[in-house]
C-alpha cells in the first residue's frame, strides 16, 4: 500500500516533439484511494497505467511510491498488481499454480506459499476451483485469477485495472464489480481503474479522473463531474446526453444570448477574445411560453417522448441543445418558446475551461 506521486511525468511513443501520448502532468494518488480513470479510447489512460506499473518507462518525469523513486524499477520490483482487458491466465497450469506463480518466481517454497494462495482463493471465492485447469474456467473467473496473482503478493502497493470487465457477461459484471469493491474495503489497497464507460467509473470510484487527449482534465467525485464540469470535454462525456453549450457574448459586464442577459454561477470576468459559451445540463433546462429573466428565445425543433422523460431538441441562435423534461411537466408544442436557464446550474465557459 502506498501513495503514488507522479512528478512532471509525460510520455511520447515516437520521437516527435508534438505527439505527447501523455502530456507532462503532476498528480498524487493517495494511499488506499479508489480512483477511476475515465476517458475515450486513445486518451492516454492505459499509457498512464503502464507508467505506474512500470511496463512503460516515461519519456520524462519521476514516479514515486511513498516518496521512494521507482522510475527506473522494473514492473516485478514495484509491487504492483495489474489486471488487463482480456483475462491473462497460464493455460497449462491449474488455478493453484496460477496463483502461486508470482510467489514461486520470487523463490517461495511450496510450504510457504500454500497458506497464502488459499487465503487469496478464499477472498476471490476460487477455493473450490484450485485444482482445476485455469483455461477451463469462464472469463469472469479468469479475471479473478488475474487479480489473484496480484493480491497473492503480500507487498502489493496498488492494484491497477485496465478495463477489466470488457469481456465479462453483463449480468456478471455487476457481481465482479461488487467483489472488487469488497476486496478494496477488506484489504485497503489503492485501486486504479481504467474504463471508458462512465457508468462503470461513476459507480466504482470515489474519485473519478477524467482524461482527454493525454491530459487529466478534471479529478472529482461523480457529483462534482456532473454539476460543475471543469472542462467542456467533461460536460460532454459525463451525462446522457452531455451538457449543452450555448454560444454567448460578453456585453455590458454580463453574458448575453440573443440580447438576453443570462446570470450564471461564474463570478469572474472571462478573458477577452475567448470563445464563450454557457454550459447547462439538459436536466436543468425548462421551457416557458413567455419571456422573463434568464429566459432565452428558442425554437423547438423536435420532441421525443421517452416515457419517463421527454427529450426536446432546441435551436438557440446558432447552437442547438437538448432539454430533458420530466414526464408530466406538459408536452411542449413545436415552434417558438423560451428556455429557462437556472442561474445556479449554469456556468460560463471560456474556450474549453469553466470560468470560476
Amino acid at each position: 500500500m502506498a501513495r503514488i506521486d507522479l512528478e512532471d511525468v509525460g510520455h511520447r511513443y515516437t520521437g516527435a516533439t508534438d505527439a505527447w501520448a501523455l502530456r507532462p502532468m503532476t498528480t498524487t494518488w493517495t494511499d488506499g484511494g479508489e480512483y477511476a480513470l475515465l476517458g475515450p479510447s486513445g486518451c492516454g489512460k492505459t499509457t498512464l497505467l503502464n507508467i505506474i506499473s512500470g511496463l512503460i518507462a516515461p519519456t520524462r518525469g519521476k514516479v514515486s511510491f511513498d516518496g521512494r523513486d521507482v522510475t527506473a524499477l522494473a514492473p516485478e520490483a514495484r509491487n504492483i498488481a495489474q489486471v488487463f482487458q482480456f483475462p491473462v491466465v497460464y493455460d497449462t497450469m491449474t488455478v493453484f499454480d496460477n496463483l502461486a506463480f508470482p510467489l514461486r518466481n520470487r523463490g517461495w517454497s511450496n510450504a510457504q506459499l500454500r497458506q497464502r494462495v488459499e487465503e487469496v482463493a478464499d477472498i476471490l471465492e476460487l477455493r473450490a476451483d484450485l485444482g482445476r485447469r485455469a483455461r477451463a474456467l469462464s472469463a469472469d473467473q479468469k479475471q479473478k485469477i488475474s487479480l489473484g496473482r496480484g493480491l497473492v503478493r503480500p507487498d502489493v502497493a496498488a492494484v491497477l485495472f485496465d478495463e477489466p470487465l470488457t469481456v465479462i457477461d453483463p449480468h456478471l459484471k455487476w457481481l465482479l464489480r461488487r467483489k472488487l469493491k469488497q476486496i478494496h474495503q477488506q484489504l485497503k489497497l489503492s485501486l486504479l481503474y481504467v474504463t471508458h464507460d462512465q457508468t462503470e467509473a461513476l459507480t466504482f470510484a470515489d474519485q473519478v479522473v477524467v482524461m482527454s487527449q493525454g491530459e487529466i482534465v478534471q479529478v472529482g467525485t461523480p457529483e462534482q463531474l456532473f454539476e460543475t464540469p471543469a472542462h467542456r470535454f467533461v460536460g460532454h462525456f459525463i451525462g446522457s446526453p452531455g451538457m449543452n453549450f450555448l454560444a454567448c457574448e460578453w456585453t455590458g459586464g454580463a453574458a448575453t444570448i440573443a440580447s438576453v442577459r443570462v446570470e450564471t454561477s461564474s463570478t469572474q470576468v472571462p478573458p477577452a477574445d475567448a470563445r464563450l459559451a454557457i454550459g447547462v445540463r439538459p436536466e436543468y433546462l425548462e421551457l416557458a411560453a413567455t419571456p422573463g429573466p434568464n429566459r432565452v428565445p428558442v425554437r423547438i425543433a423536435a420532441i421525443q417522448d421517452q416515457g419517463i422523460h421527454t427529450m426536446v431538441r432546441l435551436e438557440v441562435g446558432a447552437s442547438s441543445a437538448w432539454a430533458k423534461l420530466r414526464a408530466g411537466s406538459g408536452t411542449p408544442a413545436p415552434g417558438s418558446a423560451f428556455a429557462c436557464l437556472p442561474p445556479r446550474r449554469c456556468a460560463l465557459y471560456a474556450g474549453d475551461r469553466r470560468v470560476p
Binding site: V88, D91, R149
Partner: protein
C-alpha cells in the same frame, strides 16, 4: 446438445460436389491400387486374383525392412532437429520493421526453390572438387565424400532437409508468436517470470496448435521424401540413403512389379496415416 434440432437431409446436396471431386482425385485412384494389389497382371485383360500374396511377399522383403528402418531414423532425426531449431529461429526473428521483412524473405527462400533444384544445388555444393562445402571440408583435412561414404551421404541428406524445411517450422511458429497478445507478456513481467518461464508457460502453449500442424506436415513430407535424395545421392552409396519412396519407385517403375508395388503403396499409406494419428493424439490438447 439439443435433440430437438430439425434434421434436413437436403444439406447433403451441398456436400456432393466435394464428394465427387474427392472421389475422382483420391478414392478412385486408391481403389485402382487396391485392385492391383490383389491381382497378378499378366497383360491386357489377363489378370489372376492372388489374394494376400503380394502383401505377404512385400512384408517379408529385407529391402523393405532396410528402407523402413532408414526412413524411421531419417524422419526422427529431421523432426528432432527441425522443430526445436524452427522454434528457436522464430524466437530470434525481429518483431516488426524492415529487419523482420528481410529475415522472413530470406528464410522463405528455400521453400520457394523447386525440390529437384534443391537436390542439384546440394549436389554441386557438396562436391569435393568444385563445391564450396565439399572443397572447404576437404581443404580443412576432413575426409568428406558423400558419394562414397554412407555416413557423409546421410549427414548431407539430413543437413539438406534441415536447410530446406526448418524455415517452414520457423515461419509457422513466428506467426503463432505474433498472435500472442501483449498483455500476456506484460502480466508475466509483473509476475516476475523468467525468460524461460515465459517460453514454457506462455509461448509454447500458445504455439501448440501451430506446432501440431508443423509436426504433421514434416512427418508426412519427410516420410515421403523422394526428389532431393534421388538427385543428390540416387539412394546410395549402395542403399545407404534409399528411403521408402525410392524403394517403391524401384519396385513400380524400375522392375515394373505392379502388384507388389501396389500392395506396398497401401502399406506405406497406412504407416503414414497411423503415424499422423498417433502424433495428432499426442499433440492434441489434453482436455
Amino acid at each position: 446438445m439439443s435433440s430437438a434440432k430439425p434434421v434436413n437431409q437436403r444439406a447433403w446436396w451441398f456436400v456432393l460436389p466435394v464428394l465427387i471431386s474427392v472421389a475422382f482425385s483420391a478414392l478412385i485412384p486408391l481403389m485402382t491400387i487396391v485392385n492391383y494389389s490383389v491381382q497378378d497382371i499378366l497383360g491386357p485383360d489377363q489378370a489372376v486374383f492372388v489374394g494376400m500374396e503380394w502383401y505377404q511377399e512385400i512384408l517379408r522383403d529385407p529391402d523393405l525392412h532396410g528402407a523402413l528402418y532408414r526412413q524411421l531414423i531419417f524422419t526422427t532425426a529431421a523432426l528432432v532437429i527441425e522443430i526445436p531449431l524452427g522454434i528457436a529461429l522464430a524466437l530470434a526473428i525481429p518483431e516488426r520493421g524492415w529487419r523482420a521483412s528481410l529475415v522472413l524473405v530470406l528464410l522463405a527462400m528455400p521453400l520457394l526453390i523447386p525440390w529437384n533444384v534443391v537436390g542439384t544445388i546440394w549436389q554441386i555444393f557438396a562436391r569435393g572438387d568444385i563445391g564450396l562445402l565439399g572443397y572447404v571440408l576437404t581443404q580443412l583435412g576432413i575426409d568428406y565424400n558423400y558419394t562414397q561414404d554412407p555416413t557423409d551421404a546421410w549427414v548431407t541428406v539430413l543437413v539438406m532437409d534441415v536447410w530446406h524445411w526448418t524455415p517452414l517450422v520457423a515461419l509457422l511458429s513466428y506467426a503463432a508468436l505474433r498472435a500472442i497478445p501483449e498483455p500476456f507478456y506484460q502480466a508475466a513481467r509483473i509476475d516476475g517470470a523468467s525468460r524461460w518461464a515465459v517460453f514454457r508457460y506462455i509461448e509454447l502453449p500458445k504455439m501448440r496448435g501451430v506446432l501440431t500442424i508443423a509436426l504433421l506436415l514434416r512427418v508426412m513430407d519427410s516420410f515421403m521424401i523422394y526428389t532431393e535424395p534421388f538427385v543428390l545421392t540416387g539412394g546410395g552409396p549402395g542403399t545407404a540413403t534409399t528411403f521408402l519412396s525410392q524403394y517403391l519407385t524401384q519396385k513400380a517403375v524400375g522392375q515394373f512389379d505392379l502388384g507388389p508395388a501396389a500392395a506396398f503403396s497401401l502399406v506405406y499409406f497406412l504407416i503414414i496415416l497411423l503415424l499422423c494419428f498417433v502424433l495428432y493424439n499426442f499433440m492434441k490438447d489434453p482436455r
